[in-house]
């Protein structure tokens, strides 16, 4: 059929990402916006040199102004400074969760997918058992068992994110082992280790990146949710979810900026991530095989 000539006959995901960036203005835009946001939260504290913990009891609950572009909270702390610091907490923790999950998930997936047998059974049982808890509930229970804080939240959310990687990647490993190019390499007499690392692993990378984008977005949201419930970052550590909780009661009395800006930050960060992941999925995974929940 002629339509075949239109769609690339080769697996599209092997195309270099660079060429897509050049052509895809929307992706470039969203990527650079997210990069800007991350950069802002990372280097923001050097630009906006107000300490996020500095209280000023003579300037409490001030609306946004030139001196305080995002206003001040009930102890006179600068909301912008806390917004930047909170963003950094969120972003770093989100990245950490995405990375830890990816590493653990990838290793277990490779083990389970290549060794099969009881290794696979045990890992599958383990991940199934973890996945039947909602992420936030599990993270809450972990926070309860450990000291509530960012560390506990990262541990809890990573614990819930790695099975997602594991599940998807394991499926992909299994699929790859059924593929002719893997069989052909085995047929050449390649050592299983070589097959695993030179041929199977590189194919997992794009899926892992996709998954990381999804996990990052979900992790940032869950972290904020934990903060909102008082189980994430603990005061006075600035974190967007925790800031929303602190600003919650002021929402009704008109001081919207305390909880408003961090919520907006979350919305923008996660939406951008979702858009990027979406677009990347179309580029890297045109068949949509790895559409992942959450």
């Amino acid at each position: 059929m002629t339509a075949v000539a239109v769609t690339p006959a080769s697996p599209a995901r092997s195309r270099p990402i660079r060429s897509f960036l050049k052509r895809d203005a929307a992706l470039t835009l969203t990527l650079s916006l997210l990069a800007a946001l991350i950069l802002l939260t990372l280097i923001g504290p050097f630009l906006w040199r107000v300490a996020p913990d500095d209280i000023n009891l003579s300037a409490v609950l001030q609306p946004p102004s030139v001196a305080h572009p995002m206003g001040t909270d009930d102890t006179g702390r600068d909301v912008l400074a806390r917004f930047l610091a909170g963003g950094r907490t969120s972003m770093l923790a989100g990245l950490g969760i995405a990375l830890i999950g990816a590493v653990v998930g990838c290793v277990t997936a490779l083990l389970a997918g290549s060794m099969r047998g009881w290794v696979d059974t045990v890992f599958t049982w383990l991940t199934n058992s973890i996945l039947c808890f909602p992420a936030i509930l599990l993270a809450m229970a972990i926070a309860m068992a450990l000291q509530p804080g960012v560390t506990a939240a990262v541990i809890g959310l990573s614990l819930h994110s790695f099975p997602w990687y594991m599940r998807t990647l394991r499926g992909e490993v299994m699929r790859l082992y059924g593929q002719d190019f893997i069989r052909s390499t085995t047929a050449l007499g390649a050592h299983p280790g070589r097959v695993l690392f030179r041929h199977v692993f590189p194919h997992l990378v794009p899926i892992m990146i996709l998954q990381m984008a999804a996990v990052f977005g979900a992790a940032v949201l869950s972290l904020a949710a934990l903060g909102f419930l008082g189980l994430g970052a603990q005061p006075p550590t600035a974190e967007w979810g925790e800031m929303i909780t602190e600003g919650q009661q002021f929402f009704l009395t008109g001081q919207w900026w305390i909880a408003g800006f961090p919520g907006l930050g979350l919305l923008v960060a996660v939406t951008l991530t979702t858009l990027i992941a979406d677009r990347a999925r179309e580029v890297l995974d045109p068949r949509g095989e790895f559409t992942q929940a959450k």
Binding site: L57, D74, Q147, Q234, P236, E246, Q249, T253
Partner: protein, 539 residues
């Protein structure tokens, strides 16, 4: 023909959805009229609290005692004064205690035996006789259960136990035998600790196992001897109180009281504004402040036994250094805290117990002035290099994180590094009660008896002395205090102890919080006591 079929399918698939959407819209439009309508509504108390247990013999927290007090009669009740805005405020003077279930009482000449004559023919809500046996059972249960009730009832005098025995003289007469004369016993008998419950009901529900309080009682009442019956109780959600038809005393003002336990401050605020609650309790000062200028409601504030303090471990670490403790106490911006955290619903003082407690001397316990220079000087005198303290907080209570933030920043100004250690309520309580903390920000509910507070907090080596305070010379003073029967004779020892306390700064009282309630305009009757009850409230 074909297009008709297509239209039909289209219709079929969309009708269902449209119908449901329409239904939602309809109900949305129709409903607001059903809201409001305060005339027919039950008297509603919105309370920013969550109760863990409503067994008055066992629980410690003030809110729980308050709630439970509605269902149980006590032998006596406190006298009351009426403050300017019409709110009746209980008076904790033992001399002004009045009869309640006991119509009268006689004190033996040595002051050790109290013989109470009970209301004749009094009954529990379920019809069981409310007699001397019930009184004996209830007081003995409080004493032996091992919870907060025992210590509170005996005003901290456990060695030897203050209450020796309770004797049933006849069904309408009961005698309390003390190990020594102690008039303040009447004040504690008027608190929830002195509640009378139906022994039969407790026995029906499994009695108390050895040292383990009855679980059923944690969410039920052992019948009711008080003005209200607990009609419905959904923990952490709501309770419905109905008038006790068998109550011996003056019936409760409102026939039905609905108590909503709501921890969401915005909800409380909104409902107060909309007039959906008659009384709102437990709002953070900021919200009370906001509502005080709102046309919706009236705010009443009364002095309460609610100190806000920074407790410190006096036995270990930097906080065992008296100069450091003093330095910390001088570095706190008391005025600003009272203004920006308590929004004025606070009183300053500096002492082991709060103003309003009988025996409080405003001279001795005058508020401490913030003096940063003095504080810095004290730090350098202390000889501690790079002092650093952990401040344990329970951020789930409103205002705590704000307070902690202020403390951290003001103490860091005098060179003391502060590490804020957030804990969940349970962990906080466990750590505090086992004394494994360095300093902790505490919202306390104190007893209304000065000697009790001193005993609890200043007895060396006592298991309730969570600050591990042991000031040289106090054991002797304490002994003298314990031997003094009444406030008059106690006063010199109290004063000496207070002076020792303030010199050593074992704890930093930040302020005494006022009890605040936001009242709807229809509320005409309102009162306050250390164990707040609802039966004198009404429209």
């Amino acid at each position: 023909m074909r297009s008709a079929r297509i239209r039909r399918t289209l219709l079929k698939t969309t009708t269902a959805l449209l119908a449901s959407v329409g239904l939602l819209a309809l109900s949305g439009c129709g409903s607001p009229s059903t809201a409001g309508g305060s005339a027919t509504r039950d008297f509603t108390v919105n309370w920013a609290t969550s109760l863990t247990n409503i067994d008055p013999a066992f629980v410690c927290a003030g809110n729980e005692n308050s709630f439970a007090s509605n269902f149980y009669a006590r032998l006596v009740k406190l006298g009351a004064d009426t403050q300017a805005d019409g709110t009746a405020v209980a008076n904790t003077d033992p001399a002004r205690v009045q009869g309640d279930l006991a119509t009268s009482w006689k004190v033996s000449p040595d002051g050790k035996d109290y013989t109470f004559s009970l209301h004749p023919g009094a009954k529990f809500a379920n019809g069981d006789p409310l007699d001397a046996e019930a009184v004996r059972y209830s007081i003995m249960r409080n004493l032996t259960i091992g919870g907060c009730g025992s210590l509170g009832l005996q005003i901290g005098l456990t060695d030897p136990a203050l209450i020796k025995n309770v004797v049933v003289v006849d069904p309408s007469t009961v005698r309390l035998e003390l190990s020594r004369a102690y008039p303040a016993i009447l004040v504690t008998l008027a608190q929830s600790r002195g509640s009378i419950y139906d022994p039969m009901v407790i026995k029906q529900h499994g009695e108390d196992k050895k040292g383990v309080p009855n679980q059923w009682l944690a969410s039920h009442t052992a019948s009711s001897s008080g003005p209200y019956v607990l009609d419905e109780y959904v923990a952490n959600n709501y309770a419905v109180l109905k008038r006790n038809p068998n109550y011996y005393g003056t019936p409760a003002l409102e026939p039905v009281v609905r108590v909503n336990f709501i921890t969401s401050i915005p909800t409380l605020m909104l409902q107060a504004r909309r007039g959906e609650a008659d009384v709102t309790l437990g709002l953070p000062p900021y919200v009370v402040h906001e509502l005080s200028s709102d046309a919706c409601c009236r705010v009443t504030a009364t002095p309460a036994f609610a100190p806000v303090t920074v407790s410190m471990d006096n036995s270990k670490g930097v906080t065992s250094n008296v100069q450091i403790r003093q330095a910390l106490s001088y570095a706190v911006p008391y005025q600003q805290i009272q203004k920006s955290v308590a929004y004025g619903y606070a009183d300053g003082y500096y002492g082991p117990f709060v103003p309003g407690t009988p025996g409080f001397d405003p001279q001795l316990s005058a508020p401490r002035a913030t003096d940063l220079d003095k504080a810095r000087q004290l730090v350098s005198q202390s000889g501690v290099a790079d002092p650093q303290i952990d401040l344990m907080i329970n951020p789930s209570a409103p205002g705590v994180s704000t307070l902690a933030t202020i403390l951290k920043s003001s103490w860091e100004e005098i060179g003391v590094k502060v590490n804020i250690d957030s804990q969940t309520p349970t962990a906080f309580a466990t750590k505090f009660n086992t004394g494994s903390y360095q300093s902790a920000l505490l919202f306390e509910s104190a007893g209304p008896v000065a000697a009790y507070e001193l005993r609890k907090k200043m007895t060396c080596g006592s298991s309730f002395n969570n600050q591990h305070i042991c000031i040289p010379g106090t054991p002797e003073l304490m002994k003298d205090l314990n031997n003094a029967p009444d406030l008059q004779t106690q006063q010199p020892f109290i004063n000496a102890l207070v002076k020792d306390w303030t010199d050593n700064a074992p704890t930093i009282p930040l302020y005494r919080a006022q009890f605040t309630a936001v009242l709807g305009h229809t509320v005409k009757h309102f009162d306050y006591a250390p164990s707040t009850t609802f039966y004198n409230w009404g429209r």
